[in-house]
């Protein structure tokens, strides 16, 4: 009845009253999310420098490598943990909560914790690996050489963001009907075959969505790397967001930093086009 009434008396005034509920939120988001984009175009300068900016290309390449390593490891590990935790057992709620903890902790602060783990003198990582006979000396300067510094950043990121993947995959797995597994069991399919015949194909939309979503986030990585390595050694872990920061606060080139921001946004637009593509596929399925 009220819907009839609403439609009968639905005019511009009515619409304005309804929109007014959303106005505070829209205003705030316009101020923080949209105005900066407009401002970035206004302040941006030095476009001609882009093509010769070796540091920018190097940091873009670092970011791409970091994203590729981190997201692929997180996906595999996240899926493995999700599969492990779908089986019911005593105390599963508590285990799930524990697994969620790294995601909820402050990235910058946990980067300090990882720096302590990687410490060349007193670090627990070197000591543990030495005790297991995997390194010849407990003193390993993980953050001092380019290859291991990148690996250290990836490992810390994997620790921090795998829970998010696990969470998404667990809910994706919960949506797969049990009957499918039962039918496959009757047909004599083992666990490995069931995984490749049922789990993986049905989880594909979730997998794709989670990976692209994480890739976008990872592309903007700042806190973790800034605290852990500061972009070093020798710029080997300098990500694009760190390079933007350097341009603002170290080289005091705000205009050029805005230009770099636009380059970043363009990269992300391409990636989110990927998201749209994948979600459309999901709707068709």
């Amino acid at each position: 009845m009220s819907r009839d009434r609403a439609h009968a008396g639905f005019g511009p005034r009515e619409a304005a009253v309804n929109w007014s509920f959303a106005v505070p939120a829209l205003l705030l988001m316009a101020l923080v999310n949209l105005l900066p984009v407009v401002a970035a175009f206004r302040y941006a300068s030095g476009f001609h420098r882009l093509s010769a900016d070796g540091r920018m290309f190097a940091s873009l390449w670092n970011t791409v490598r970091f994203t590729a390593y981190a997201v692929s490891i997180e996906t595999v590990l996240g899926l493995a943990i999700a599969l492990l935790l779908t089986r019911p057992f005593k105390g599963r709620g508590l285990v799930r909560a524990a697994v969620l903890v790294p995601w909820a902790l402050p990235t910058a602060i946990m980067a300090m914790a990882w720096q302590w783990i990687y410490n060349p003198e007193y670090g627990i990582l070197g000591d543990l690996l030495f005790k297991f006979g995997l390194v010849s000396s407990p003193r390993v300067a993980w953050l001092a050489s380019p290859g291991s510094a990148m690996a250290a950043c990836v490992l810390a990121d994997v620790w921090k963001t795998t829970p998010f993947m696990t969470l998404l995959f667990m809910s994706g797995l919960a949506n797969i009907p049990d009957e499918l597994y039962e039918a496959a069991g009757i047909d004599g399919a083992g666990p490995v075959r069931r995984f490749f015949l049922i789990t993986l194909p049905l989880l594909k939309p979730t997998l794709a969505l989670a990976m692209v979503f994480r890739a976008i986030q990872s592309f903007g990585v700042f806190d973790l790397v800034w605290v852990l390595t500061g972009g070093g050694p020798g710029g080997s872990t300098r990500m694009i967001a760190l390079y933007v920061y350097d341009n603002v606060f170290r080289y005091l080139e705000l205009g050029y930093a805005c230009t770099l921001t636009l380059v970043m946004a363009a990269c992300l637009l391409v990636m989110s086009a990927g998201i749209l593509y994948f979600t459309r596929q999901k709707e068709q399925a």
Binding site: P24, L28, L31, V101, L105, A108, D127
Partner: protein, 276 residues
């Protein structure tokens, strides 16, 4: 064979738990060691004489209390503002006839895809122009806006589950939209609002980049930045005992929130991410 499988399963679960909590637990162990033991080679895996001296030190020699206060103010204010503004918007988008509403929601979600990293430079200019650098509002307003898309989306999915009959009954009883929202919808949506509030609190408590750039004065800093700045003096004199105590104190509330509200957090995150 079955027994071996079970043993392997338990081992795997234990490994996952250890991997997840390890870095945090190692900070707990470090924070309880006397200063001299922190830098002992090889490291001891349990403090020989557990002490809270490092915890006392961060409050007596550093403005750690100020950092915590700043963080609490910013996180609580953001959570409150985001809950109120987000609930209003989510109500409009999910329950009221709104020409163009669908389009607005789509653009909000699209905007939310981008990490705040790309907004930060022009946003810095804006906050500076508004004279809000080193002012808690300079963080509260951006944090609220950055959390709104997610909050609105999660709240919408919960609002849509509330039966329409109730609002229709309220309309027959002559309640206005505001009264309906306040007296009928809001009490029913309270658990959903609590879920998003927990998530918004965690996000604002943890945020680093904006806090680093907008709060340059030590007295205005939030905990994550304060801790990250504890090192920085020289490479060789990093006060790891104090850092670990600060890390534990800052992360403990979050760990407690996660353990207490695990179900809600999972619910909210999956509603926000999977359906988005």
């Amino acid at each position: 064979m079955k027994r071996l499988g079970n043993a392997l399963f338990v081992l795997a679960v234990a490994a996952v738990v250890l991997w997840s909590l390890g870095p945090f637990l190692w900070q707990v162990v470090t924070s309880l060691k006397p200063t001299a033991e922190v830098v002992k080679v090889p490291p001891t895996y349990w403090p020989s004489h557990p002490t809270l001296a490092s915890y006392v030190k961060i409050f007596s020699t550093r403005p750690f209390g100020t950092y915590i206060l700043n963080s609490v103010v910013v996180a609580l204010a953001t959570t409150a503002l985001c809950s109120v503004v987000g609930t209003l918007a989510a109500y409009a988008f999910s329950r009221l006839p709104l020409p163009g509403g669908e389009w607005a929601v789509r653009s909000i979600l699209f905007v939310a895809l981008f990490p705040p990293t790309i907004l930060v430079v022009p946003l810095y200019k804006l906050v500076q122009a508004l004279h809000l650098l080193n002012n808690p509002l300079g963080l509260i307003l951006p944090y609220t806006a950055l959390n709104l898309p997610f909050s609105i989306w999660v709240l919408m999915t919960f609002f849509k589950a509330i039966p329409r009959d109730l609002e229709e009954a309220a309309a027959i009883d002559g309640l206005s939209r505001w009264q309906t929202l306040w007296k009928v919808v809001f009490p029913l949506a309270a658990p959903a609002v609590a879920t998003t509030a927990i998530l918004v609190f965690i996000f604002s408590w943890n945020e680093f980049l904006l806090a680093l750039i907008f709060m340059s004065q030590d007295a205005a800093r939030t905990v994550p930045v304060g801790i990250a700045m504890l090192s920085g003096v020289t490479m060789y004199e990093v006060p790891w005992d104090q850092i670990s105590a600060a890390v534990v104190l800052t992360t403990l509330p979050v760990v407690a929130l996660v353990l207490a509200f695990q179900k809600r957090i999972v619910e909210g995150l999956t509603a926000g991410a999977v359906k988005g």
